[in-house]
Amino acid sequence: MAEIIAASHGLVVTQAKDISQSSLALEADVVVIGSGAGGAVAAYELAKAGKSVIVLEAGPYVPSSEFTEDFSQAIVQLYEDKGTQTNADGDLMVLQGRCVGGSTVVNGCVAFRTPDYILDDWQKQYGLTNLTVDALEPYFARVEANLGIHVNPEHEINRNSAVLREGAKKLGISWKPFQRNIRECALTGHCLSGCATDRKQSMLVTYLPWATAHGARIYADTKVTQILAENGKATGVLAEVTDPKTGVKKADVSVKAKLVVLAAGAVQTPLLLQKSKLANSSGQVGKNFACHPSTFVVGQYEEDIHPWRGAMLGIYVDEWAHPSKGGYILEGGGAGAVELSAVTQPGLGEDFMDYMANLKKLAGIVTLIHDHNVGEISWDDDKKKIDYRVAEADYPAMKAAIASAVKLHFASGAKKVYLPTVVHAVVENPAEADAKVAAIELGLQSLRMVSYHPQGTCRMGSDAATSVCTPYGETHDVKNLFITDASLFPTSIIVNPQVTVYTLASYIADYIVQN
């Protein structure tokens, strides 16, 4: 048998510009919706097992040679809604990738296994008794090997993270270097604009070219509009090809398939099921949305930090990660000029320009909390709606995370700390930290929040009355319709989610092949 080899650069993708006919009828064993973390892994594993696979991706194919390393451009080029996706209240940006490779193209490379206590909770609360640490161990190991996941060596810990590490040591709190899915990191600090030199092991340079090497066909600019089912079994999808430059529809597509794998991400997956009127006998489709609402706490130092230089994410503090200790983590995170101009309100006019003039002396901490699954994704006429407000039950974690970040900055040598509030709030010295943080009035338009981690809108569970998918990712209601993306998570997982998605997708793909 001929050896199967992946292309050395780029991907073979059918794009809108390649399509001249107004309708396309395709057929395959499996149609995969979305080419991000969940879709790409499922596509490769199923193609490798000998199935014919078609991947439909709503976003464009942007080869890494076109990445600009300019965040203002990347957000328009590579992100959902050109980076303007927010919750309904408008106080939380919800970032997702929208391109071939999905969010994995723009993510920060941080790689965590699902915490044991989260898997325990899923077993106890949701009947996911199959997803034990032992059962998932080989899948984690496979993903980690495939994606070059390794602990940051010293040279991948930038100055931003190095100063925070010193502060953590002084405070005697637990910190660790991150693990990341990257090979020979070029230390450019531009992860969120896509890795222009293909060092990040995103789906664009791993599972997708591997899937095509095994015969999978990828269609970009192709948005699935409906999932089809007959007699309780999935039978295929309908989709539309749109020219990304003009927004004009070019073709209707239908794909007939024995199996549909839905991996459009935790916002689009429930929307598609709702539109298709499928898999919702539990009424849970779109419910239980969580997103790790995140803030960026900036400290100003005397020394030069240059927070955009080096690997973007170096170390993290897990002292308070366990839910019994607070349920939040702090991540040492670099950022560029445009991002730093937007994450805080250091004052106006001269105060703002003074903050920016000291840009190279700033260091950042990302806060992530184990939020409750209180949000909901739905249609509001023909527009999507992300109804999510930080639950009052999460206010203590949100404040504790910010307070700990402020303390860590001061312990690390910061001269002042800018709170991530919409209104002006600067902590000038450690003595006023607690009072200033306590004074933050949480509620609408209070914090500058971003979510990088939408999850949980089609949760797995053993009980069909309270969950959308079985413990093996198949929808309870529609046979041969599987979900492999972040919408599967029954609860938020505290840590960055990509490895959990890859692992669940690998596990579900094996289950499909074996059954």
Binding site: I4, I5, A6, A7, S8, H9, G10, S64, S65, T68, E69, D70, S72, I75, V76, K82, G83, T84, T86, A88, D89, G90, D91, M93, N146, R183, A186, T188, H190, A196, T197, D198, R199, Q201, V205, T206, P209, W210, A213, W308, R309, G336, A337, V338, S341, A342, L348, G349, M353, M356, A357, L359, K360, D380, K383, V422, V423, H424, L444, Q445
Partner: protein, 202 residues
């Protein structure tokens, strides 16, 4: 007079207060500018400004002359560079960049924002008897601060949007980066080769 001003200010707040309802906010951060749909009728272009007759550069797609003058004034107020090593804001096409940023918005939300900008400019007539674009520097800065730090959510949100757009319109310009040692794109400059695709796993 002060009493009148305070009364007028609370009138503006009152006009905006019911708009903090969830139903009004539902279309997202940008849509809070939609408050103006109610209020702008009362304020719009109440006072002509000498700025109205100043030239407007060609090439703006979304912003009209009044918005251009508003953001020009915001640029002067929010991006002071005199006496600093920063690039003078006047040398940066801030408003053109803002116009470009608006491309990304859903057209309906963009329209609401544009109306909101008119409200922002004209609401100053109630408190200061002048449009925002005509306020002296200190008053103009205080006016923006009043919006940004307001307890009235739509007002705070619109203040947030105008400042964020102005700040981003300046800092997204690569000419501003060398002064703060921000490196910008580096891979090509440094000649870093692409690693390409990872070979298939064994």
């Amino acid at each position: 007079m002060t009493q009148n001003k305070n009364k007028a200010a609370s009138d503006v707040s009152a006009a905006l207060a019911p708009l903090s309802r969830r139903s009004v906010l539902k279309t997202g951060l940008w849509a809070v500018a939609g408050v103006s749909a109610l209020a702008a009728g009362g304020f719009a272009l109440l006072r002509p400004s000498p700025r109205d007759s100043l030239p407007v550069p060609a090439g703006l797609v979304h912003l009209e002359a009044q918005h251009y003058h508003l953001f020009s004034r915001l640029t002067e107020i929010l991006l002071p560079t005199d006496g600093t090593a920063l690039l003078p804001a006047a040398q940066v096409p801030v408003v053109n960049h803002i116009d470009g940023l608006l491309d990304a918005l859903d057209p309906a939300i963009r329209q609401q924002l544009l109306t909101g900008l008119a409200l922002f400019d004209n609401a100053a007539v109630v408190t200061h008897f002048k449009r925002f674009v005509d306020l002296p520097d200190a008053d103009a800065l205080a006016y923006v601060g009043d919006w940004v730090n307001s307890g009235v959510m739509p007002k705070r949100a619109l203040g947030f949007v105008v400042t964020k757009l102005t700040h981003t319109g300046y800092w997204m310009d690569s000419q501003t980066w060398p002064m703060v040692e921000f490196d910008g794109p580096v891979s090509r400059r440094w000649g870093i080769p692409s690693r390409g695709n990872q070979p298939l796993p064994g």
